[in-house]
């Protein structure tokens, strides 16, 4: 099942979210964020997806041990994801988001948060 989900993830949704976080001199300052997206930005309703995520500093060095959260919503509707995805660490600043599913076709927004502050916002289109 895990292998199937991974294969499905690779085949149908090769989204790699790369977050380059530039830590300023003062940690209190908002980090500059650069997001890079590879592959098609589309998904199918009612399938489970895995989203690989990498969080790096300005030099491309992975940042492990971060307190990350994920949330998703449909801007044209008033609801969020139909599931509770989980984020696990895979080492060297790599993370895997599992259990992402979309209950409705249309435009979805996925947001990655670091310590409950927005780190990355990504849009994708869900189709039948």
């Amino acid at each position: 099942m895990q292998a199937e989900m991974q294969a499905m993830s690779r085949r149908l949704l090769s989204i790699v979210l790369v977050c380059c976080v530039f830590w300023g001199e003062a940690r209190a300052a908002l980090p500059q964020i650069v997001a890079k997206l590879d592959g098609p930005v589309s998904a199918t309703v009612n399938q489970f997806y895995e989203l690989p995520l990498k969080v790096s500093d300005a030099n491309g060095v992975g940042l492990p041990g971060l307190n990350l959260q994920i949330r998703g919503r449909m801007p044209e509707h008033s609801h969020g994801l139909p599931t509770t995805p989980r984020i696990s660490e895979k080492g060297e600043g790599r993370y895997l988001i599992e259990g992402v599913s979309f209950s409705m076709p249309g435009r979805w927004v996925i947001e990655i948060l670091l310590d409950n502050k927005l780190l990355l916002r990504q849009e994708l289109t869900v189709k039948f």
Partner: protein, 393 residues
């Protein structure tokens, strides 16, 4: 004078809108002119049993001939009820498209907050009961047997009946009946699960919806046979289908997939104060407590729906499972609590849903003119146009 003329023109325009035949108002789409996106959606909605194995992954008895035969008998067996007078078939009547046309739901519990839905194609769906408190078809059947307001029996009694009645005819399935007198709780549970899985195997094999005119229409479009397509759906029905797919109306957002339900949970302004304990929020609690949920009987890898269950959300309050729109021909009532007795009333509900202050709601009013409501209704009737009994013979 100018004012009177303006008002007159406005009145004439409004009258024109309402009085002209409906055919003037849909675009009169030629059957060859569906867009590629629309065609993809139509194919997505066409009846298919491809998902049976995936949807019933935790039922190893699926497709087993002896389990199907046993399940068929159990479905009609009044011995599974505490009173000995009712069976699954009492609320899901075979002669009425497996709908509760005799209102047994209400006769058993006049205060009930939900109704028994039709179950053709239940095996092609996720989540069971209006609150989704069962995550498999087999565990749904078990919950009905032990519900004091439904079959009102218990697992020990049901398993004793199973062994006494069917052991001889189904020796391979019921071999554990031999040690019944010394059976412990977990042995009883295992045999009770076999009972549920047999009923579910029967439903997956024999209680599937017939191919409707809509499905044949999509087949005809796929084959490029537009003359046949035109013979299958008339202009009014095609106009209704277009409305069904229209993002402004929004039906297909929730009623999608081959069963015209994505098996999701949405708040559609049908929750009532005092009945909130029957919504998805409560269903999630009951599911996690259930002795027969997926994680208790299968490996975690087989239970992604439960592993990633939406638990902590305000959106589950007042939300109920989206029902299938297939085979509503015999449906005696609609919505989770059966509040409406006609599809016209349901469409009117969506045109003007009543909302409660500060409550999450997933729908917006569907802007449907009177003739469009008739078109939408005409399309919904196309989905129930198959003759179930005829096609089963």
């Amino acid at each position: 004078m100018a004012r009177i003329l303006t008002a007159g023109c406005a009145l004439a325009f409004i009258l024109l809108i309402f009085l002209l035949p409906s055919d003037h108002f849909h675009t009169g789409i030629a059957h060859a002119e569906w867009s590629a996106d629309d065609l993809a959606t139509l194919r997505h909605l066409r009846l298919s049993t491809d998902a049976l194995a995936e949807k019933n992954k935790t039922n190893e008895l699926l497709f087993r001939a002896d389990a199907i035969a046993l399940g068929r008998q159990l479905f009609h067996d009044t011995g599974l009820s505490g009173s000995g007078q009712i069976s699954c078939a009492s609320c899901h009547r075979p002669e009425a498209g497996y709908q509760d046309t005799e209102f047994i739901t209400y006769k058993l519990d006049p205060q009930t907050a939900h109704r028994a839905p039709g179950i053709l194609g239940a095996a092609l769906q996720d989540w069971f009961f209006w609150d989704g408190r069962a995550d498999s078809l087999w565990s749904q059947a078990l919950a009905v047997i032990e519900n004091p307001k439904e079959l009102a029996s218990d697992r020990v009694r049901a398993v004793r009946h199973l062994c006494a009645q069917y052991k001889k005819d189904f020796p391979a399935l019921l071999k554990n009946c031999r040690g019944l007198s010394a059976a412990r709780g977990e042995d009883i549970d295992r045999m009770f699960v076999t009972l549920g899985k047999s009923i579910a195997a029967f439903e997956a094999a024999e209680l599937l919806p017939p191919v409707s005119r809509f499905d044949r229409y999509v087949d005809a479009l796929d084959a490029g046979n537009y003359a046949e397509a035109a013979a299958l759906l008339n202009d009014k029905e095609v106009a209704g289908l277009k409305l069904f797919l229209d993002p402004m109306v929004g039906c297909v957002n929730c009623h999608n997939g081959p069963m015209f339900t994505g098996s999701g949970f949405f708040a559609v302004a049908t929750d009532m104060p005092g009945q909130l304990e029957h919504d998805r929020k409560r269903g999630v609690e009951l599911l996690l407590d259930s002795e027969f949920n997926c994680l208790k009987w299968s490996t975690a890898a087989d239970c992604p729906k439960l592993q990633y269950l939406l638990t902590d959300s305000a959106e589950t309050a007042g939300a109920y499972k989206v029902p299938s729109l297939r085979n509503l021909r015999h449906a005696p009532f609609f919505m989770h609590d059966g509040r409406y007795r006609s599809l016209e009333a349901v469409i009117e509900h969506y045109r003007s849903p009543a909302t409660l202050p500060l409550r999450h709601i997933d729908i917006r009013p569907a802007p449907l003119l009177p003739h469009q409501r008739k078109q939408l209704l005409a399309f919904l009737e196309v989905l129930g146009s198959g003759d179930f009994n005829k096609e089963q013979q």
